[in-house]
């Protein structure tokens, strides 16, 4: 092919060359067309995702304060060594697992129940309840934090007031400065916001289930619970696994704002997570290398989790094709 083309094109003076060249350029254009369509997406991803990602890998082996005029200095694996000797980072790993596991009921169990219950309601009530569940999702984390801080205030808060009035506690509790409560409150607030998002996702997934399955099952004498277990759950399985993936991968990100606003990771690191520590290393200690090393570890561990969930999805998700 190349030989014949070479021969055709070689005598550049012949009149047929132009036609061949046009054909060739059309062919080339056709071949490049898909790439042209992909170009904007690839360019954006490269600029905003892959370049910073690769740069993070590079920085993980450097020492750098990010100050203009200074250059990163290669330090090998020093950042990783410091990371594993850093007590607050070690503590943050345990908390990250706590938030990840603790968020699962708020991202899967409760929303699925709410979605199923509201699904059987008449249109107006259904929309009303779903809107109620979704409202927390659209509230700004700063306002949400301020409201929860007032509610849980040790001396002026409504929660303490009611608990003391009901004789459930003797002394008011300072929830955000108590190591036993701080991370539970962060989890509760994040979960409260998460429920709205997940409920909408499950509700959308429910509407795509064919009603005939339920009719057939009910004619065969299956009750609501059996219908839920044998029809709803299997047909919701792709959404369950999707939400499971979202919840696990983003739990650290979603808790970040409340940690920053309400506890700043304290008391003594009891409510921090890996995300918050990465932020602290980079923008409080100005140690881009240490932060990048933590980010690299985070990327590898959560990348493996994502791959595992992908395999689970292929094995267990049931698609009603």
């Amino acid at each position: 092919m190349s030989q014949s083309l070479d021969n055709t094109i070689a005598p550049s003076l012949s009149g047929g060359t132009i036609i061949v060249r046009r054909r060739l350029s059309k062919k080339k254009l056709r071949r490049f067309k898909p790439y042209l369509y992909l170009l904007p997406a690839v360019a954006l991803l490269s600029i905003w995702m892959y370049r910073p990602l690769l740069y993070t890998f590079y920085l993980a082996f450097q020492k750098w304060s990010m100050v203009p005029g200074t250059s990163p200095v290669f330090v090998g694996f020093d950042n990783f060594e410091h990371l594993f000797h850093n007590k607050s980072f070690i503590d943050s790993i345990g908390n990250t697992i706590f938030y990840t596991v603790g968020l699962l009921p708020f991202s899967i169990l409760i929303p699925m129940i709410l979605a199923v219950v509201t699904d059987r309601m008449e249109s107006k009530s259904k929309n009303f309840y779903r809107a109620m569940f979704f409202i927390p999702m659209i509230l700004a984390p700063v306002s949400v934090s301020a409201i929860w801080r007032w509610l849980f205030h040790p001396s002026n808060g409504l929660v303490n007031y009611l608990l003391v009035k009901l004789h459930l506690i003797k002394e008011p509790i300072a929830y955000f400065s108590d190591p036993g409560f701080a991370k539970w409150i962060i989890l509760l607030i994040t979960g409260w916001k998460m429920i709205g998002f997940s409920t909408i996702m499950f509700s959308a997934a429910l509407t795509s289930i064919n009603r005939e399955y339920y009719e057939a099952a009910s004619q065969d004498g299956a009750g609501s619970f059996r219908q839920f277990v044998h029809i709803t759950i299997p047909l919701l399985s792709p959404m369950i696994i999707f939400m499971l993936t979202m919840s696990i991968l983003f739990s650290s990100q979603w808790t970040f704002a409340y940690i920053d606003m309400l506890t700043t990771g304290g008391p003594y690191g009891s409510s921090t997570n890996i995300y918050y520590e990465m932020y602290r290393f980079a923008f409080s200690s100005l140690n881009a290398g240490l932060s990048s090393a933590a980010a690299l570890l985070f990327f590898v561990v959560f990348g493996l989790i994502a791959l595992g969930l992908n395999m689970v999805s292929r094995k267990f998700a049931f698609y009603d094709n």
Binding site: S155, F176, P179, Y268, S285
Partner: protein, 463 residues
Amino acid sequence: MRPSVRGSKTTASNKYFHTVGVLLIMKRMAKGALALMAMSSMVWLSACGSASKSAGAAELGALDPANPTKITFYSYSLAYPTMKAGMEQLIKEFNDTVGKEKGVVVEGVADSTMQQYKADISAGKEVDVVQHTFSTLDSSRLSLGFKAYEDIFPKDQLDEHLKGISPNALELGKIDGKMYGLAFTFSTPIVFINGKLFEEAGLDPAKPPKTWDEIKAASLQIKAKTGKDGFGLTPSNGWITEGLILSNGGQVLAKDRKSADFGSDASIAAIQMWKDLYHNGASAPGTENELAEQFMAGNLGMYVSSTALHSGAKKAADAGGWKLYGAALPQFGDTPSVPVNSGSVLAVRPDSAVKTAAVWEFIKFVTGDRGYTIITSQIGYLPLRTGLADDPNGLKDFVEQNPLYKINLDQLTRIQPVAIWPGDNATEMAKVFTDAIVKSVMSDDDVKTTLTTAQNEINGMMP
């Protein structure tokens, strides 16, 4: 490259076209690269030029009132409601008077968490003056390019300006003999007292508790009689903790600043006392904001904090119908307490001779007589030009009307500097120290083990 291109021309014309194309692109790239190199060398040269200018220490550029020089001032006081108005007045008055006359415009940037200036420096923005806390000054000096006053401002002008400022205060921003920060907003810890709760508990707010034992007794009495918390000191406060340790004969950092030294028996005993208050209901739980809010709401008998809260506390007292009293930092037994300073220094990083001149004008104004008068009367910090407190044209009337300032001025005579953690890891060290104190006070963990572990961890981070 050229011979191989010529060779390919003779073999296959498509390769020829391709190669010629590549060559053309390469030529263009080479041109571009040359242009880039030329530009970058120009940038480099100009950078060298500006660097050499600013390195030409103590030379101030010429300011032009017709074409004012803009400088940025990052301030955490601008972000807090109790301090914002005073700080805005300070900046506005400068811009309207000296700034207008000399040709300087100061733009205030609110920086509540003291992270914004770091992020902006990292992003290449112009950050000229920062209201900087003491404990991490060394780290900023090393990593953020803050400059020593002696290196950039004319010696005679600097010496002249520093006259009248408390010598103790001047020492606080010095590292390795050079002043990297000039004390700006400054206070010592004070016990704010709610007179109404004191009286309801049968205590006399005019004769406040002096020792920690008396604090405990008064706190429990207030709680028993009024049902409200008697005393509050946030375990995560950081700086007042240091005063507690020093008051009992301990120290936080060794004298040579080469090792942490808060694991001694004296330090442990001080923290143990605080733990006792906390676990026996004599110290209210809560974060710094929560305790401040509790005190302002009239629900806390005594609250130890900086005088920066004075204006807010006074307004709250007036609004709530109670009288605000004060006391010095409590002492252990008969030994007078050793307070440390809170507040900030002004750290500077002008990048040209003109900017240096503009920054110098701003520094002179805000740390001059008028500046400190505004800072004290409108915000609540101490006048570091202590003579102002006796000056009828300065703050004499103000101090007489607000006797809490006398307590603070008295404490200035025995003040010790807050620990400036050394090296790049200063922020991490400060965090480990604070976390260890919080854990020692709040949890059931052994104080000695917790402090010793933290001390070893910090010593492992020393430069």
